[in-house]
């Protein structure tokens, strides 16, 4: 009945299929499990062709590996690849019972199949005389035509169900760029980007606040993280501005302070032992003079 080549094909594919199916059971990541199942599906298609069902083999490739498993991959992408299994048992002993039931079911099924003596197979040469698809079409549209109609209704219902289930009704009007801009103007926030740190200060380090036209430091120009950590430094105040405005330097940082009252030229970099990386940022004027 079955040829030797088919036996070779079977014994090559069947262990691989079982191993891949076990991969579904043991794979940690959902993507790996999906790829294992894709492999099982492709091998099943090859087996269908070997079992004289080439039409079903093609349909298996198209429907399962082409559509269903790609849909699975798509949903894994939507849900998140790192959605891993929790190892907490919500029902006590459920894992043990699951293993027992799975192995028991396999043992019972395999035992029954091995004990039954099947008749010698008839084969499909006679039934597939006009090629397999034609023969299947005769049966499908002859004996099973009502079932086919019902399945068509089922498919349409399923498509509608998927549409309604995943449809998200918009309850609030859409917030686009224009609405965001209007809201910002209405709230009276600053319309332009925040100034970069160090602008108009004598150093352009990240932790030195920018100076406004009055020479006062702008607190918002330093990164919020640095401010929270207390790593912000005070901007060195120009002596003339301090003299004109008649008020003391208004530093905003609580971090390592250095001399804000210094009156020497801008060329001298301030040595700060606690933050050595930020201390060597001299203004570009100095480098021009040196070069």
């Amino acid at each position: 009945m079955t040829s030797g080549a088919e036996a070779v094909l079977f014994w090559c594919l069947a262990p691989l299929m079982v191993i891949a199916a076990l991969g579904l059971l043991f794979a940690r990541k959902a993507v790996h499990a999906t790829l294992c199942v894709v492999f099982v599906m492709v091998c099943l298609a090859v087996m269908y062709v070997a079992l004289e069902a080439p039409f079903l083999g093609i349909v298996q490739i198209v429907v399962y590996t082409g559509a269903v498993m790609m849909l699975f991959l798509f949903v894994i992408m939507l849900v998140g690849v790192d959605a891993s299994d929790s190892l907490v048992e919500t029902i006590r002993g459920q894992r043990l019972v699951g293993w027992l039931l799975g192995i028991g079911l396999g043992a019972v099924l395999v035992g029954v199949i091995l004990r039954v003596s099947f008749p010698a197979g008839i084969g499909l040469e006679e039934a597939n005389a006009d090629t397999n698809p034609v023969a299947i079409a005769r049966v499908l549209f002859g004996d099973f035509v009502f079932n086919l109609e019902v399945v068509g209704v089922l498919l349409i219902t399923a498509a509608l169900a998927a549409l309604t289930l995943t449809h998200k009704q918009r309850l609030t009007p859409r917030v686009g760029q224009k609405e965001r801009a209007d809201a910002r103007v209405a709230s009276g926030e600053s319309l332009v980007p925040l100034p970069a740190p160090g602008v108009y200060a004598q150093r352009n380090a990240m932790d030195v606040p920018a100076l406004d036209p009055q020479g006062r430091p702008i607190e918002a120009s330093v990164s919020r993280v640095l401010r929270v950590r207390g790593q912000e430094r005070q901007a060195p105040l120009d002596a003339q501005i301090a003299h004109l405005s008649g008020q003391g330097p208004r530093g905003v940082g609580s971090g390592p302070s250095h001399d804000v009252d210094r009156t020497d030229g801008p060329g001298e970099p301030t040595a700060d032992p606690s933050t050595p990386g930020a201390a060597d940022t001299t203004p570009p004027r100095t480098t021009e003079e040196e070069s």
Binding site: V37, V40, F72, I76, L78, F118, G121, A127, L155, L165
Partner: protein, 99 residues
């Protein structure tokens, strides 16, 4: 080679799928276990069709494929909508009716 080998393979795949449904907690993997069980039954159908020389088994397997496709569409839509509301794809987190 006896054709019951195909049936043994089908039984093995079916029980692996059933164990997956029982043991895994990720809803998507549980769903793939169901798909594996449907495919194992398809293999048995096709084997029996060849054994009896009757194409009805292949037609039934074809119907199983169609129903499985519809089931996948609806099931994945349910998983996606649950994930939208609960931010989780684990079958343990769907316990609103518990208390």
């Amino acid at each position: 080679m006896d054709m019951s080998n195909y049936l043994v393979l089908s039984a093995l795949l079916f029980s692996i799928g059933a164990a997956t449904v029982l043991l895994r907690r990720n809803a998507i993997i549980v769903f793939m276990g169901i798909e594996l069980m449907l495919n194992a039954s398809n293999l048995a159908f096709v084997t029996f069709a060849r054994m009896h020389g009757d194409l009805s088994g292949q037609v039934i397997a074809f119907f199983v494929m169609v129903v499985a496709a519809a089931e996948v569409v609806v099931g994945l839509a349910i998983i996606v909508s649950i994930f939208r509301t609960r931010r989780s794809a684990s079958v343990d987190d769907v316990n609103l009716l518990k208390n």
